[in-house]
Amino acid sequence: MKENSVLEMRNIYKSFPGVRALQAVDFTLCEGEIHALMGENGAGKSTLIKVLTGVYEKDEGEIFLKGLDNAAVIRSPQDAQNLGISTVYQEITLCPNLTVAENMYIGREKGLGQNWKKINEGADKILKSLDIPARATQQLSSCSIAIQQMVAIARAVDTDCKVLILDEPTSSLDEQEVAKLFGLMRDLRAKGVGIIFVTHFLDQVYEVCDKITVLRDGKLVGEFEIKDLPRVKLVAKMLGKELDDEAQIKDESQVYVADEAIPPVIEAEGLQSNAGIKPFNFNIRKGEVNGFTGLLGSGRSECVRAIFGADKVIAGTVKKNGKPIKINKPLDAMKAGIAYLPEDRKADGIVGDLSVRDNIILAAQVLKGFFKPFSKAQANKLADEYIKLLEIKTASADTPIKSLSGGNQQKVILARWLLTHPEYLILDEPTRGIDIGTKIEIQKLVLKLASEGMSVTFISSEMDEMLRTCSRLIVMRDRKQVGELSGEDLSQSKVMDTIAGGDVE
C-alpha cells in the first residue's frame, strides 16, 4: 500500500448473470481527500461501492485497508462497518418503523443492552450539531425524505470511520442542505477521513473534490487530479469515444415546425396529481418531441405520470385533439392513445417472470379486451416482429424477460407500447442504466417515430440526450414548472441556468 492511502482496491471483478459489472477495476483513496467516483449510469459505480461495503461479494480482486496487514475480508455490511467504512446510499436504507435515534445507532454498538437515555441524548446532540430538524425519539417514517437522508448521513458521520462513502446523497437535498453537507465533508477531510463521493452533478464535483476516478462500462478509465481534468474532458472520459457517434444523431434530425392551426394532440391545463406537484400546463403537437427536464425529484416524472393517470389526478383538464377527455386510470390514457414507459424499469416496467412474448403483448392485450385473447400464433408473430424490428437480443420469445440485459428489457417495454400504436408516447428515462449503443438506438428511434407523426415526450437525466432529441424543453424545479425553452434557447448553459433558477426566462 502507498503510505498515505486508507483504502486500495485492486483488480476487482464482479459479474451478474448476463452482465459484467466490473472488470479489473483499481481504486485508491488517500487520507484526508474527497474523491469523486464518476461514470454514466451503469458504469459500475454502485457495484464497486456495494463490493466495498460487503453487499455484493466480489468475484476476484483484493481490498486493502490502512492498519491491516492482509487483504480485508468484507462479506457483509457489518464487516465493512467494523472495519471503519461507513456508507450513505442513494436510496434510503434505514428502517422506517424505528425512531431516528435507533436508526443512527442500531447495528453498531457493543454490548447487550440498549441504553435509551444515552442513545437519545447522543442522537439529539449530533442532530443539533448538524442542524438537522428532527428529534431523536421521532419515528423515522414521520420525517420527510430529505431529513431521512440527513439522518443517514448523521449516522455515517458519527461512526468513527476511516472511509466515508456518499453514494449520490444530494439528489433529495436542497441547496442549503447540500451546502451543509459540503461543510461537513470538509470538516471530516481535515480530520483525515477519506471520502468517496458519487454524484451526477458536475458542479458539486468541482466544488468539493480533490480527485476523480472515472469508470465506463465496468472498466477503469483512469484517476485524475481535479485540476488536470476540466469538465469537457471529464464528460468525454465518461462518455468515451462514442461522442462522435452521438453527434451524428443531430444531423439526422429535422427541425420541427409547429403547425399552430391544428390543436395539440394532448393538452393539459392546471393538471395536478396527489404526488405533490404544483398544477402545470402542457401541450404537445403531432410529430413533436418535447421533454421535461430538471433535477432528480424536481417533479418531471410526476408530471407525465399525471398525464397518464398513473398517479391520482386531483385537478385540471386534459384535451385530446381539442376535445376534453377524462383520464382517471392508466387504461383511460391507453384508450386515448397514450403510452407510457415508466422511469423505474424494474419496479414499474417489466413483468419479470413472464416471457418476452407476454411482456410485449401485455398492453395491447389489455386494450384488446378480456374476452379476446391473442391466439398463440398471433402472439408469436407479433413478438417475433418486434424482436426483429427493435433488434432485441433474446434467446427466444419464451425467455423470461428478467434474464435479459437492461437495454434489451427496455426495448421489450418499448415494443410493448409501440404495439399499441399510440399517438402520444411518453418515455421516462428510457436510457437509464443501459449501454451506450442501445441508448443511441433509442434516441434514433424516437426521432424516427416523430418523423412518422407520433408525438413523443422524452425525459432523461442526461442533458445531451435531451438537447439532441427534443425541440422543446419544459423545465421543472421544486415540483413546479419554471420555464419552457425552444429553438435558439436550447443550449446546455441556458437549460442549466433555468434549472438552477438563474435570471434567464
Partner: protein
C-alpha cells in the same frame, strides 16, 4: 430545537397498543356494568388467566416472529405434541416431573431449530415451513399415543394442583365463606415470559434488531444487522416458547390428547393482531399481545355468560373482533402514511 420538552411523538407501536388497551378496558368495564355477577369478582379475571396462560406464552412467541415479518403456525401442534409426550412419559414410562419439563423444552427447541434454519438460512416461506411443522406435530401426537388420557403421576398432580394465592383479592362465596383468589403456576410462568420478552424487545440490541428486520430487511442488512441470524433466532424463540406453553397447557389440563390446543395457533395470531402487532412486520408490543389475549378471552366469557352458550358464538365473535381490528389497523396505517 429543544424538541425534548415537547410531547413525545407517537410511534406506530404505541398508537396500536393504546387502541387495544382502551378497547379491553371498555369491554371489561362494560361487562361489569351490564352483566355484573361474575365479572365483579377478581377470581373471574384470574380464571381467564388460568385458562389462557399457555395462549399468552404462544402469543408472545408469535408476536416476536410477526415483528420480524414472519409467522409460525406450528405452535398449536407443538403444544399438543408436548402434552402427549409428557403424559406418556410420566404415566407409561414412570418418568419424573423435572425431566418432563426438559422434554417439553427440548421438543420446542427442536422445532425452533429446524424451522428457523429452513426459514432464515434456506429462505423458504415461513408459512409453508411452519404449516409442515404443524402437520408433523399433529401427526406425531397421534403416533405417540392415540387416545386421550389423564395423567395419574402423583408428583405431577401435586404440581398441577398447586395454587398461588393472590392476597386481598378473595371474595365471599354463596354460603358466606371467604374464599381466597388464586392463580395457577402456569400464570406465573406466563407473566414472567411477558416481562422477559418485553424487556428483551425494548431494552436489548437483539430486541431492536427484530424490529429493524421486520421494518425493512434490506435496510437492516445495510445497517449492519445479521438478518439471517435475527430471523433464525425469532423462529427459535417461538419454538422454545411453544414448548414451554405446551408444558403450561399440560399442567392446566393434566392430560394428553391429539385434539389438544386445536386452533391455538390461530388464536395466538388473532391475539397478536388485536394486540397491535402488524403482520407486515416491524410493529408490535408484548404488552399489547397480553391485552390481545385478555380481550379475546374476555369476549368469550361475555358471550358465555350472556347465555349465548352455543359454541358457534365464540367463533363468530372472535372473527368479528379480528375483522374489526384488521380493518381499523389498515385504515389507521393508511391514514398515517398519507399524513407523512
Amino acid at each position: 430545537m429543544g424538541g425534548n420538552k415537547k410531547k413525545k411523538p407517537i410511534t406506530d407501536t404505541t398508537l396500536l397498543l393504546t387502541i387495544t388497551i382502551v378497547v379491553f378496558f371498555l369491554m371489561y368495564i362494560g361487562a361489569m356494568v351490564f352483566q355484573g355477577g361474575g365479572f365483579l369478582k377478581a377470581q373471574t379475571f384470574f380464571n381467564i388467566l388460568n385458562t389462557n396462560a399457555a395462549l399468552i406464552i404462544t402469543a408472545c412467541g408469535l408476536s416476536l416472529v410477526m415483528i420480524t415479518g414472519s409467522i409460525d403456525i406450528s405452535v398449536g401442534g407443538v403444544v399438543a405434541l408436548v402434552s402427549m409426550c409428557c403424559a406418556v412419559y410420566l404415566d407409561y414410562l414412570g418418568g419424573n416431573v423435572f425431566v418432563s419439563i426438559l422434554i417439553a423444552l427440548g421438543i420446542g427447541l427442536a422445532f425452533g431449530l429446524v424451522q428457523g434454519f429452513l426459514v432464515a438460512y434456506l429462505d423458504i416461506q415461513p408459512f409453508i415451513v411452519t404449516l409442515a411443522g404443524m402437520f408433523f406435530a399433529r401427526g406425531m401426537t397421534t403416533i405417540v399415543h392415540t387416545n386421550p388420557f389423564n395423567v395419574q403421576n402423583k408428583a405431577f398432580v401435586a404440581l398441577k394442583d398447586t395454587r398461588v394465592v393472590v392476597p386481598g383479592m378473595g371474595s365471599i362465596n354463596r354460603i358466606g365463606k371467604y374464599v381466597d383468589a388464586y392463580v395457577e403456576i402456569g400464570v406465573i410462568v406466563a407473566l414472567l415470559v411477558v416481562v422477559l420478552m418485553f424487556v428483551m424487545l425494548r431494552w436489548t440490541k437483539l430486541g431492536r434488531s427484530f424490529y429493524a428486520v421486520g421494518g425493512n430487511k434490506q435496510s437492516a442488512l445495510m445497517l449492519g444487522i445479521n438478518v439471517k441470524r435475527t430471523r433464525f433466532l425469532a423462529q427459535l424463540f417461538s419454538g422454545v416458547l411453544a414448548g414451554l406453553a405446551g408444558y403450561v397447557y399440560f399442567l392446566h389440563v393434566g392430560s394428553g390428547a391429539p385434539s389438544h390446543a386445536s386452533g391455538m395457533e390461530m388464536n395466538a395470531i388473532a391475539s397478536s393482531i388485536i394486540g397491535g402487532t402488524l403482520l407486515t412486520g416491524g410493529v408490535g408490543n408484548i404488552i399489547g399481545t397480553l391485552f390481545g389475549v385478555l380481550s379475546l378471552s374476555t369476549i368469550q366469557n361475555i358471550v358465555a355468560s350472556a347465555g349465548l352458550d352455543q359454541a358457534w358464538w365464540t367463533g363468530i365473535t372472535i372473527a368479528a373482533m379480528l375483522c374489526l381490528f384488521l380493518v381499523v389497523q389498515s385504515i389507521v396505517m393508511a391514514r398515517k402514511k398519507k399524513a407523512a
